[in-house]
């Protein structure tokens, strides 16, 4: 039987909707007040009710050309509780570069040109029960740093005049004594940026679909990707990540480099939901996890779809296309989430090698676009795959 065409169905649906939407309204001031409360609550949740310390991360911009990074620990203020000022390690990362860890409280000198936009992204996390506090100024903005999510802060600015200038975020870990707290933190300078401490550039993986060298990231076509990998990522890890991306684009084809264990555990965050025989993994639906949602999002989540969505689009908005599309990175080891900085590793795979794919540095500017697809490798085979998403 012949029914209405798709356009007819759409027209009818639109016509009915047009007459059906009820009158609704919101109070702008109430929304703004709720926004203030949310920002404040997240800051308090991260930092507790008292400022234990304010360690400064200062980004100084001058306009005289590239300058070397200068590091210095600075304890900016101590408002009571004794802070942990020892032991924490901070990793500093510039785009495409991997540099030596910096100590907490390091001062980083960045040089930019007048009129050159500079964006700095900082993520920190405290382990051992520590709580991260960022910018306890009580303000919702500090010279471009207007997002005070716990553990994450991003600032953008364009210097209009020559001379030194300071952008800063006060941050510190407070927590149970005795010290030290284990701290994980890193900074990403998306544009502009310091001269890297490590002159060795990161290795960049170029799968078959992508240009060989110095790829024009803006020119990536649908289905192309560019995978950045740190120097600690081995060839096998890169090949594994590339194979998974190939698989994500066409689940019916299983690349040789993608070696699954006989059964593969699938899950979300630290939770393994089920094990799936490897021969069923060509069915895209088999990868669905977290049907009830998570990370403050609706479910289900699907690792292959998450990856395919990043490299398969053509539009100029969002992670799916334009300047964001296909710019991914492969990394090793456990990692924090976004903006929440908990480390979600299933206990069953705590000792397995973890290879994870996420958006490349600078490819996203919001946690809503962040994700990690984690591969847990044991004995050369992928035994588990988990998904993590950033919260809206």
């Amino acid at each position: 039987m012949t029914g209405p065409s798709d356009p007819e169905v759409i027209r009818e649906l639109r016509a009915r909707v047009a007459a059906a939407v009820p009158a609704m309204s919101l109070d702008e001031a109430a929304v703004r007040a709720a926004g203030h409360r949310r920002v404040s609550q997240r800051r308090w949740a991260a930092g507790g009710s008292a400022v234990a310390a304010a360690m400064l991360l200062a980004v100084v911009v001058t306009t005289s050309g590239w300058l070397p990074v200068s590091n210095g620990i600075g304890l900016a203020g101590d408002t009571g509780q004794t802070p942990c000022v020892t032991a924490p390690s901070v990793e500093y990362r510039a785009p495409g570069q991997s540099v030596a860890p910096l100590p907490q409280g390091a001062t980083v000198t960045v040089t930019a040109q007048v009129g050159e936009p500079v964006t700095v992204h900082f993520v920190g996390a405290c382990a051992a029960g520590g709580r991260l506090m960022i910018n306890d100024s009580g303000s919702s903005g500090a010279d471009g740093f207007t997002d005070l999510w716990s553990g994450e802060i991003t600032g953008s600015w364009t210097p209009a005049e020559p001379g030194p200038r300071t952008l800063l975020a006060a941050w510190a870990c407070s927590g149970p004594k005795p010290c030290p707290l284990a701290t994980l933190g890193y900074i990403t300078v998306i544009t502009g940026g310091p001269r890297p401490l490590d002159p060795q550039p990161s290795s960049e993986v170029t799968p078959g679909q992508t240009p060989a060298a110095s790829p024009d990231l803006e020119a990536l076509a649908p289905g192309e990707w560019h995978l950045t990998a740190g120097p600690d990522v081995g060839d096998a890890d890169r090949a594994l990540a590339s194979a998974l991306l190939t698989f994500a684009l066409d689940p019916k084809a299983a690349p040789d480099a993608l070696a699954f264990a006989p059964t593969v555990a699938l899950g979300s965050g630290a939770t393994i939901e089920r094990s799936v025989p490897a021969d069923q993994l060509r069915d895209l639906a088999a990868w669905d996890v977290a049907p009830g949602g998570g990370y403050e999002r609706n479910g289900p989540f699907n690792a292959l779809e998450i990856l395919a969505a990043r490299i398969g689009g053509t539009d100029d908005y969002g992670v799916n296309g334009g300047k964001y599309g296909g710019r991914l990175s492969v990394s090793l080891g456990a990692h924090p989430g976004c903006p929440y900085t908990q480390v979600d590793v299933p206990t069953e795979y705590a000792t397995a090698a973890q290879v994870w794919i996420s958006p490349a540095d600078g490819a996203i500017d919001s946690c809503i676009d962040w994700f990690a697809v984690n591969l847990f490798v044991d004995g050369g085979a992928v035994g588990a795959v988990t998904v993590q998403l950033g919260s809206p």
Binding site: M24, V31, L75, L168, A170, P251, G294, Y317, V319, D365
Partner: protein, 197 residues
């Protein structure tokens, strides 16, 4: 490495760099955005949840997130908020989800005769209620907001192929629910989505 801030001036600058002006600018920008986009966002939310009160609640949640991320969202705040809107899973949403996704046959066929608006709302709720949650989001974004497939995919974090197949499957289901469009077509009350690429 020393125990003092490099240059010692940063503490003073910390105070200096807490600009009230930036907060004022943020509030002004947000207020203008909200005034201009509130109606569209509420409409989108209502299409997603089918209830005015919950739509207002969902929209407010999404706007609160947008306000908190204004420095990133202000590039395209409507797109940012819409994206949060279609992805956000609130506790309220979960608690009341059954109220929205109840079986279509349980929804009233007709509203009160004297209230055309209610009747039409009931009807569109019933029609959209036959869709799965993902199908409904795809239909709302693709056909009622008229977004490109790639943008729908980006908003929902799914592939373009899945958007296409889900949209196709959704239209097949809607075909039978919209008698005004034409006669009955193929119906499919089976699985959630066609996941083939």
């Amino acid at each position: 490495m020393t125990g003092e801030p490099d240059g010692g001036a940063f503490t003073d600058e910390l105070v200096e760099l807490v600009p009230v002006a930036s907060k004022v600018r943020r509030d002004e920008g947000f207020a203008a955005f909200m005034a201009g986009s509130q109606a569209e966002l509420l409409r989108t939310a209502w299409l997603l949840v089918g209830d005015a009160y919950r739509a207002e609640e969902l929209t407010q949640q999404a706007l609160v997130r947008t306000y908190g991320a204004w420095s990133r969202a202000q590039r395209d705040p409507l797109a940012y908020t819409r994206r949060v809107l279609v992805n956000l899973r609130t506790d309220t949403w979960r608690r009341r989800r059954h109220e929205v996704l109840m079986a279509p046959e349980r929804l009233p066929d007709r509203g009160r005769a004297e209230d055309v608006g209610v009747e039409q709302r009931d009807e569109i709720s019933r029609v959209l209620g036959v869709l799965s949650a993902r199908q409904r989001r795809v239909v709302v974004l693709r056909y009622l907001l008229d977004l490109p497939e790639a943008e729908v995919a980006a908003d929902l974090g799914i592939s373009v192929g899945t958007v296409k197949s889900t949209a196709s499957r959704s239209l097949a289901r809607l075909r039978a629910e919209l008698p005004g469009a034409a006669g009955p077509g193929p119906t499919d009350r089976g699985g959630d989505d066609d996941r083939s690429q």
